[in-house]
Symmetry: none
């Protein structure tokens, strides 16, 4: 389910929901790296700002952790 640019729901909230689903479903297992910001950007047709805000949401939820200059991983 791609993001919907015409939806009233903010894009970063939509993207966070997509990634959250992939994590809770096990599609992204524990300690697995999230796709990189640039990948998520291109794949979802959104800006890097939006990607980073989506990841920030998951980080605040404790679902993922970020290693600077390395990547973000599923907790």
């Amino acid at each position: 389910m791609p993001v919907d640019h015409r939806s009233p729901t903010p894009l970063y909230v939509q993207l966070a929901a997509i990634l959250r689903e992939q994590i809770t479903s096990g599609e992204l297992a524990s300690d697995a790296p999230l796709p990189s910001e640039s990948y998520l950007q291109q794949e979802n047709g959104v800006s890097r700002v939006t990607v980073r805000k989506a990841v920030e949401v998951l980080r605040n939820e404790g679902l993922v952790y970020t290693l600077p200059q390395r990547g973000t991983y599923v907790r």
Copy 2:
């Protein structure tokens, strides 16, 4: 001393005063980088627009200088 959202004084003026105090007190030494915009945003509960306007005030006062695409530093 945090900003006061109910004060009639504009938030960017309040934030500028806070940063000015940290500079003149020496808490932020010469050539030290100001905290990042996102940090100041979250730390003070204001928007990026407000942070940038506050920094602009200090720049106009000659208290800080900004290197394009690099950051803002204490003069």
